[in-house]
């Protein structure tokens, strides 16, 4: 059972992004821990050392550093067996105090409030702390120096330069970086490379190729495209909006997030909805509306479905059901029109899983140094091997065989180059609007593909939300 938990937790890293931007709508239990106290007063006796080329963050090499790692889907092995030994090798005199917990807020929050904070914290899991509140309370260390410091093992580059596009921004608040979002999820169309090879099917780059291929697949008795309407319609929303983003750049999605009037009825969204609505009408099976994600994913493992829109946790989630010979691979969503502003290789990928140094710790610089170790190429590769999750360290797993799906995801990022975009955040900001998008996309895909209706419906819901003063609004730029 725990196997499944792991992947489920990975799946939920999507939701964790809410907290990555610091705006988690924490349910029920969140009420218990709503307040993050104090912030103004300085903590005395913070350890510092002399900065040098060897010690760019100026840590005190003799001071111990205390870290707290969430013991969930990713486990803690990457910290105990990889990061800590690497850190100790570099700083043999600095002791690493390590705590693993499943309840981050229970363990850490009282200590933050009492001014007795650990130095580096992995804020994650169902009981993660509201990171926005922590930043607002001045309890997170400004990580600008970390990102400007030279990389731990890539010569000639700063830490920031070794990361994928957008990685620093995702942990930034009012322009200042406070968190490292370490793991990296790639979204796209997942398929079985073996099945495609056997049938001579090639991954489509244009929409015409896509529909032509779908016809071929259908003729071969396989359902060309599928997603689970019952509980995983948000995969479909992501597919549709990624297409919209590729047609009209990420600005389309930013407008949607910012609840800009007309954002949902913009030509790019309409175009994407039309294209996908057609896929729904022609190539999707009606019964999928009643299925759960695991059921549809299982059918893909049985080669009953060709394409499935999902994130890179899929391979790990399905590990138990994947028959030998089934090779997961991911393709970017094909270009909808010839005039798409982003190339066909453009891909949607997002960072998650917060690690931060506490400004109230005794040795926050030590915590930052620990993060620098984590962001090294070597540590990142080991992390990927251990957790089956990519990291924000660009190309860390290039050329190394990890698993078909992860390698394929890694290739996709490399091919996309600068055209990797973060996507949208309204789903975590405005849960109600998100739920409306699920109903709307199911209606579009299973009920005749009326694109205009989809756009109008979402526009109405978004504008109703914009006018609702009881909902706190967020913006991004």
């Amino acid at each position: 059972m725990s196997e499944i938990t792991k992947s489920e937790l990975d799946r939920r890293s999507l939701l964790r992004r809410a907290a990555a931007v610091g705006l988690a709508a924490t349910p029920a239990v969140g009420m218990l821990s709503a307040c993050v106290g104090g912030g103004a007063e300085e903590t005395a006796n913070q350890a510092t050392g002399t900065k040098s080329a060897d010690n760019p963050l100026g840590i005190d090499p003799k001071k111990p550093v205390e870290i707290v790692i969430f013991d969930g889907g990713l486990g803690t092995k990457y910290a105990t067996d990889v990061d800590t030994p690497m850190y100790k090798k570099k700083w043999p005199e600095s002791e690493v105090k390590f705590t693993a917990t499943q309840e981050v807020s229970t363990i850490v929050q009282p200590r933050l409030n009492a001014g007795d904070a650990p130095d580096m914290i992995n804020n994650s899991g169902a009981k993660m702390m509201d990171f926005g509140a922590i930043v607002a309370a001045g309890q997170a260390q400004d990580l600008s120096e970390l990102f400007a410091a030279p990389s731990f093992d890539i010569p000639g580059k700063t830490v920031a330069q070794t990361l994928v596009p957008g990685a620093v921004e995702q942990g930034s608040y009012d322009g200042k970086p406070f968190a490292v979002n370490y793991s990296y999820t790639v979204f796209g169309l997942w398929y079985n490379a073996t099945l495609f090879e056997k049938n001579g099917w090639t991954v489509p780059a244009t929409w015409a190729d896509f529909t032509a291929l779908c016809d071929k697949i259908k003729a071969a008795g396989v359902v060309p495209f599928g997603y689970a309407g019952s509980n995983a319609a948000y995969y479909m929303v992501r597919a549709l909006l990624t297409s919209a983003g590729k047609i009209g750049t990420e600005q389309v999605l930013k407008d949607i997030d910012n609840l800009k009037p007309g954002a949902w009825t913009a030509p790019a969204v309409l175009e994407a909805a039309k294209a996908w609505g057609e896929i729904g009408t022609k190539y999707l099976e009606k019964s999928f509306l009643g299925l759960k994600h695991t059921e549809v994913q299982l059918r893909q493992n049985q080669d009953k479905i060709a394409f499935y829109p999902c994130g890179s946790w899929l391979e790990n989630e399905q590990a138990k059901d994947t028959p030998p010979g089934f090779k997961y691979a991911v393709a970017p969503y094909p270009s909808v029109t010839a005039s798409d502003k982003l190339p066909a290789t453009a891909i949607n990928a997002a960072a998650g899983e917060i690690y931060f140094a506490s400004s109230k710790g005794k040795n926050p610089r030590g915590g930052m140094e620990y993060l620098r170790v984590m962001l090294s190429k070597q540590a990142a590769l080991e992390f990927t091997k251990l957790t089956k999750s990519l990291t924000v360290v660009a190309g860390a797993s290039d050329g190394i065989e990890i698993s078909p799906g992860l390698n394929s995801a890694n290739d996709a990022i490399t091919k996309a180059g600068k055209d990797v975009f973060m996507g949208y955040l309204f789903d975590t900001w405005y849960k109600k609007l998100h739920d409306e998008s699920l109903s709307a996309v199911n209606d579009l895909m299973f009920n005749g593909g009326d694109a205009q209706k989809f756009c109008d419906r979402m526009e109405t819901a978004a504008q109703a939300l914009a006018k609702d003063s009881s909902v706190k609004k967020q913006t991004r730029s």
């Binding site: 499944i4 938990t5 489920e8 029920a28 218990l32 169902a126 509980n231 759960k292 994600h293 299982l298």
Partner: protein, 285 residues
């Protein structure tokens, strides 16, 4: 409906009618039993069989892995113990408090009696979901969120209306003359309640405790809202497993079986009394 010697009464006499009745009974019984059978069927199947595309109606390979897996889960045993504690607390408290309240309502006439009855009746109609937020805030204020006692208190309130209502029916059914006779014989009023009414209410107490046990044991929304994962009952644990781990059917069903054991045992023990208890309460209600 006795068959009269003269053969006047014909109810249920025709063979066709009897056959029809029997078959309907069997079909209906099967429909009722089906999910129980399905739980058992799934619980003893190996994982790959559970996950196969077409449902199989009998395990081809018999396994106890699912039970091991469920029992091995970190919070399974603690959740079960939590559930038992909460249920026992709530049911016991409901019986004591409910019995006394029912006595007061059934045996005395006083100002506000009708109002109390109305409130009791209305409360059992209120979906508790509507009160979750204030309850949460209230218990939080009292430091009772994330405790077993806090949940038991809420369950007590939840169980009370039915308990009071049913026991009141029972007590009203006991002739007052009995009380009076006993008092003439020198019993105090308290002794009357303790020695006469309490024993005569026995079946009612049984019926309400069953009802209460089932309700409290199977509740998961309130406890899920009030408590952390460590202080859940088994039902909330199961629900978590259902939503978070959509595929783990086998262990889930095995968990369901283990979860039902206390209820089934409890039910089988008092099974004889239950129908009597229920009707007595209802008919005289």
């Amino acid at each position: 409906m006795a068959r009269h010697d003269e053969g006047v009464v014909t109810v249920g006499r025709s063979r066709v009618g009897t056959f029809f009745a029997n078959s309907t009974g069997i079909v209906f019984g099967l429909v009722m039993l089906f999910p129980v059978y399905w739980v058992l069927n799934t619980a003893f199947k190996p994982d790959k069989e559970v996950r196969s595309f077409t449902p199989t109606f009998w395990p081809h390979e018999f396994t106890l892995d699912n039970f091991r897996s469920a029992l091995g889960e970190e919070l399974f045993i603690p959740s079960m113990i939590n559930g038992l504690i909460i249920t026992a607390l709530a049911v016991a408290a409901a019986l004591v408090v409910g019995f006394l309240a029912a006595l007061a309502i059934a045996r005395f006439s006083f100002y506000g009696r009708r109002a109390i009855i109305l409130v009791v009746l209305a409360v059992q109609l209120v979906p508790f979901l509507a009160l979750l937020i204030p309850l949460f805030l209230m218990l939080q204020g009292a430091g009772l969120t994330n405790t077993l006692v806090g949940v038991a208190l809420v369950y007590l309130v939840l169980l009370l209306p039915y308990t009071v209502w049913t026991l009141r029916g029972f007590i009203s059914g006991i002739p007052r003359e009995l009380d009076e006779a006993a008092m003439i014989d020198g019993c105090t009023r308290a002794q009357v309640f303790w020695r006469i009414i309490l024993p005569l209410t026995g079946p009612g107490l049984v019926a309400t405790s069953v009802y209460g046990f089932i309700q409290a044991w199977n509740e998961f929304i309130i406890i899920n809202t009030l408590n952390d994962p460590k202080n859940q009952n088994l039902m909330a644990w199961l629900l978590y497993n259902q939503t978070e781990r959509g595929t783990a059917w086998g262990p889930l069903m095995a968990g369901a079986i283990i979860t039902s054991i206390p209820v089934v045992i409890f039910f089988l023990i008092i099974q004889r009394n239950i129908a009597t208890g229920l009707t007595a309460g209802a008919v005289k209600g």
